[in-house]
C-alpha cells in the first residue's frame, strides 16, 4: 500500500517537474522579434560602475532636453568579467532590459557574431573626428556594430632624472638597462606579466611593435606564425633571462607594477595613463614625485604600437526604442559630452580635437603623448571567441616568459590553439 502511494507521488512529482520545466524553457521568445527601428521612448543604459560619479550628470543633460525619452542608468558591477556576464545573460534571454550597452572594445566581435547588436550607420558613427583605431574596434565583418565612447592607450613611464631622453627603440631601452639600471641597482623594465588579460595586452603589444600580427579577417585567419611575432615575444623573454625584467614581474598586474615603479624599483614602466596622477601625488606611496615623465612605447625599429583599451557604445538588437538609443549615443559622442568625459570622469575621450585643445593640455600634461600613442595604437585580435583567443595567447606567452617553452614552441602552440578557436566560427 505504502509502496504504491510512494510510486504515485514520485510519478506526480516528476510529471510536475517536467511540466514546469517545459514552460520555463523558451520564455523570452515573445520579446525576440525585432522592433522597427523608428520607435522612440525611454531607454536604459547599462554600464559598469561609474567610479567618478559624474556620468549621471552627463546623462541628466540629455534627460532635461528629452522629457519623453529619458535614459535610465543601470550600473553593472565594476569588474569587466561581471559586466560581460550580465550582458550575456541579458542577450541570451533576448530581453529588452538593456537598450544601450557600454561594451569593452574586445566584445564587439563576440556580441555581433551572435546577432545581439544592432548595426550602426557608418557615416554617423564611424567617421568625422573620431579616432580611427577606436572606430575599428566597433567593426565586425565589414559592418559597424559599436562606436567609441572612451578609449585608452599605454605609455612608457621613465625616470627622467636618470634617463634624460626616453628610448625610442628596444635596442636603446636595453642599452639604458645595461648602463643606468645596473649602476643604480634597480630593475629596468616591467609591464603586466601575470597570466590574465593584461598579459594578452602586453604580448599583443610587443608582437605588434615588432611588426607581427595575431589574427586577421575578423578572427578567421591566424597570422602569428611569423619571424616578427617571434622577435616581439623574444624581447620579453630576453628581459627575464638577462635580468632586466625583475623575476617577480611574472606576478605583476597593473597595481603591482605601478607600486614597484613608484617605490623607485624600476627605471621603465609600461602602464596606462591612470598612473600619471597617482605617481605625482606627494606622500609615502610615491618616491618619484616630479622625477618621471612619459613617452610613447618603443618598438623594434621605431615607435611601438600600444594596445587600445576603452569602451564602446552599442544598441541591443532586442531594444524596443532603437531610434532614441542611437540619438543618445550621438549625444554621448558630442564635443560637450566628450569634454566632460575627460575633465569630470578622467577618461581619454574619442574626439581628436579635444586632444589639441591647449587649455586642456595644460590641465592634463599627458594629453599630447596620449594622442600620439592613440594614433599608432592597435587593438588586440578581434574574434567571436575572444576569451578562447585571449587564453591561447596568455598561456603560451606565460610559458615562454617562465622559460618553460622556447619562443618558437610557444608561437607554434599559440598558432594551433588560435586555429582551433578560429575554426569554431
Amino acid at each position: 500500500m505504502r509502496r504504491r502511494r510512494m510510486l504515485t507521488v514520485s510519478a506526480l512529482t516528476v510529471a510536475a517537474a517536467l511540466a514546469l520545466s517545459s514552460c520555463g524553457g523558451d520564455g523570452g521568445d515573445g520579446d525576440g522579434a525585432a522592433a522597427p527601428a523608428e520607435i522612440r521612448g525611454p531607454i536604459t543604459f547599462a554600464q559598469g560602475k561609474d567610479l567618478s560619479g559624474e556620468l549621471q550628470k552627463i546623462i541628466d543633460g540629455w534627460n532635461t532636453a528629452h522629457a519623453n525619452e529619458k535614459v535610465k542608468f543601470l550600473e553593472l558591477p565594476e569588474a569587466a568579467d561581471e559586466q560581460r556576464n550580465s550582458m550575456v545573460q541579458n542577450f541570451q534571454a533576448k530581453s529588452d532590459a538593456y537598450d544601450v550597452v557600454a561594451t569593452d572594445v574586445q566584445w564587439t566581435a563576440e556580441f555581433a557574431a551572435r546577432q545581439w547588436l544592432e548595426p550602426l550607420d557608418e557615416a554617423t558613427f564611424g567617421g568625422g573626428d573620431l579616432l580611427p583605431a577606436a572606430v575599428k574596434t566597433g567593426k565586425y565583418d565589414g559592418k559597424l556594430y559599436a562606436t567609441p565612447f572612451n578609449t585608452n592607450a599605454a605609455f612608457l613611464y621613465y625616470r627622467k632624472d636618470l634617463v634624460p631622453t626616453p628610448p625610442a627603440t628596444w635596442a636603446e631601452l636595453t642599452q639604458a638597462c645595461d648602463s643606468v639600471a645596473k649602476t643604480n641597482k634597480m630593475g629596468c623594465y616591467a609591464g603586466q606579466f601575470a597570466q590574465y588579460e593584461g598579459l594578452t595586452v602586453n604580448a599583443s603589444e610587443v608582437i605588434n611593435s615588432a611588426g607581427g600580427e595575431l589574427l586577421k579577417d575578423s578572427g578567421k585567419t591566424v597570422a602569428v606564425d611569423t619571424p616578427e611575432a617571434r622577435e616581439g615575444l623574444q624581447f620579453l623573454v630576453d628581459g627575464f633571462e638577462k635580468g632586466y625584467i625583475p623575476k617577480e614581474a611574472i606576478t605583476f598586474q597593473e597595481e603591482e607594477s605601478r607600486r614597484a615603479f613608484q617605490q623607485g624599483q624600476l627605471l621603465f614602466l609600461r602602464n596606462w595613463p591612470y598612473v600619471f596622477g597617482l605617481a605625482n601625488t606627494k606622500g609615502p606611496d610615491s618616491k618619484i614625485v616630479g622625477k618621471f615623465d612619459i613617452a610613447p612605447l618603443p618598438g623594434k625599429a621605431g615607435v611601438g604600437a600600444s594596445t587600445l583599451g576603452g569602451y564602446n557604445l552599442a544598441v541591443s538588437s532586442f531594444s524596443k526604442n532603437k531610434a532614441t538609443a542611437k540619438d543618445f549615443i550621438k549625444y554621448m559622442q558630442s564635443e560637450e559630452s566628450q569634454q566632460k568625459v575627460l575633465t569630470e570622469m578622467g577618461f581619454p575621450p574619442v574626439l581628436q580635437s579635444i586632444y589639441d585643445d591647449t587649455a586642456l593640455q595644460g590641465e592634463f600634461p599627458y594629453l599630447k603623448t596620449l594622442k600620439e600613442a592613440l594614433l599608432s595604437a592597435q587593438a588586440r585580435p578581434a574574434s567571436p571567441n575572444y576569451n578562447e583567443v585571449s587564453l591561447a595567447i596568455q598561456t603560451n606567452a606565460y610559458a615562454a616568459l617562465q622559460g618553460q617553452k622556447s619562443v618558437d614552441q610557444a608561437i607554434k602552440d599559440m598558432k594551433a590553439e588560435l586555429e582551433r578557436a578560429a575554426a569554431r566560427n
Partner: protein, 318 residues
C-alpha cells in the same frame, strides 16, 4: 569495574526499548504518513530547482556550441574532446591537479585538525576562547582568504620577509600549487578539528583512567582508545573534506587565476560554460566531474563505511 558499567545498562535499556517499540510501531504508521506528505512539497521543489538543471545540463552536453544558429546533436563528442581529444592535456592536467589538492590538503588538514582537537579537548582556563578563536579561519569567506593569502605570498610580501626566502609563490608551478594547499589547509583545519572534537568528547574518561591504571603510556592510550573510538567522526570529516576539495574553485581562481597548472576541474567548467560561452562542452565537463566525485564517494563509503559501525562496537566492548 569500569568495563562492567556498559553491560549492566544494556538489559534495562533493551527492555524499555522493546516496550515503547510496540507502542511506537503503532504510532509510527500515521506519523510516518504525515511526515511523508509534509516532505513532498520540498521534494517537488528540489526536483524542479536541483533535478531539472542537472538533467538539462546532461542533455545539453550532447549538443554542439555554435556561434550563431541552433545547436546540433553531436553525441559524445564533447566528452571525447575532453578525455582524449583536443582538450585532453588540459583536462587530465586539471584532473591530476585536483587529485593532488585533495590528497595533500585533506592529509594536512586531518593531521593539524587532530592535533588542534586533542589540545581543545583538555580542560584549561580560556578553553572557550581558544575554541572560538580556532574557528576564525573557517568563518572568513573563501574569497577573502584567497585575497589575504595572495597579498601575503607576493614576492615582496610578508611570508617571504619572515622566512627570508625569495620565492615567487604564484609564479612557478609547484610553489603555486603548495600556496593553494596551504591556504586551504589554513582555512579548513578548524572545521576538521571541531568535527573530531565532537567525536573525542563522546569517549568516556573512565576508559583512559582504566588504561592508565593498567599501565598504558600516552601513545598506547591514543592508538587503542582514542583512534578507534573517534574513527566514525574522523571518517565523516574526511569524506566531507574530500568531496569539498574535489569541487574546489574560488581559491585557485582568485589566488592564481588557474595559471601555472593550478586549475582544478571546476575552473575548467566555469571557463568553458561562462567565459567561452560553450554550454555544451561546459556541461560535459561538469558531468565528468560529477561522475568522478560520485565514484570517489562511492568507493570511500564502500571500503570504509561498513567498517565504521563494526569498529565502534568493538571499541566499546574493549
Amino acid at each position: 569495574m569500569s568495563s562492567a558499567t556498559p553491560t549492566v545498562d544494556r538489559p534495562e535499556r533493551s527492555r524499555a526499548a522493546r516496550g515503547s517499540g510496540r507502542r511506537r510501531r503503532g504510532a509510527t504508521r500515521s506519523e510516518g504518513r504525515l511526515a511523508f506528505w509534509l516532505i513532498v512539497p520540498t521534494m517537488a521543489t528540489l526536483a524542479v530547482i536541483v533535478g531539472y538543471p542537472i538533467v538539462q545540463a546532461i542533455y545539453r552536453s550532447f549538443f554542439s556550441d555554435p556561434i550563431a544558429g541552433d545547436a546540433e546533436f553531436v553525441g559524445f563528442e564533447n566528452y571525447t574532446t575532453a578525455l582524449w581529444g583536443f582538450e585532453r592535456t588540459e583536462f587530465w592536467s586539471a584532473f591530476w591537479t585536483t587529485v593532488f589538492y585533495t590528497v595533500s590538503s585533506v592529509f594536512l588538514e586531518v593531521l593539524i585538525g587532530f592535533a588542534m582537537a586533542l589540545v581543545m579537548n583538555r580542560a584549561f582556563r580560556g578553553r572557550g576562547l581558544v575554541r572560538t578563536s580556532v574557528l576564525v579561519p573557517w568563518a572568513i569567506p573563501t574569497a577573502v582568504t584567497a585575497v589575504l593569502w595572495e597579498w601575503m605570498l607576493q614576492p615582496r610580501g610578508i611570508v617571504n620577509a619572515i622566512t627570508g626566502a625569495d620565492i615567487v609563490w604564484t609564479g612557478s608551478e609547484w610553489w603555486a600549487k603548495w600556496a593553494i594547499v596551504i591556504a586551504d589547509t589554513w582555512k579548513t583545519a578548524p572545521f576538521i578539528a571541531l568535527l573530531i572534537l565532537a567525536g573525542l568528547q563522546i569517549i568516556p574518561t573512565e576508559l583512559y583512567e582504566a588504561a592508565k591504571v593498567d599501565g598504558a603510556d600516552a601513545w598506547r592510550r591514543f592508538t587503542t582508545i582514542t583512534l578507534p573510538l573517534v574513527k566514525p567522526a574522523l571518517l565523516v570529516a574526511v569524506l566531507f573534506r574530500i568531496l569539498d576539495v574535489l569541487r574546489i574553485y574560488d581559491l585557485p581562481a582568485i589566488l592564481t587565476q588557474g595559471a601555472n597548472d593550478t586549475a582544478p576541474l571546476s575552473l575548467l567548467v566555469v571557463r568553458a560554460a561562462i567565459s567561452n560561452l560553450q554550454p555544451g562542452y561546459g556541461s560535459a565537463l561538469s558531468t565528468l566531474t560529477f561522475l568522478f566525485i560520485f565514484l570517489v564517494a562511492f568507493l570511500f563509503v564502500k571500503l570504509l563505511g561498513t567498517n565504521v559501525v563494526a569498529t565502534q562496537q568493538r571499541g566499546v566492548k574493549n
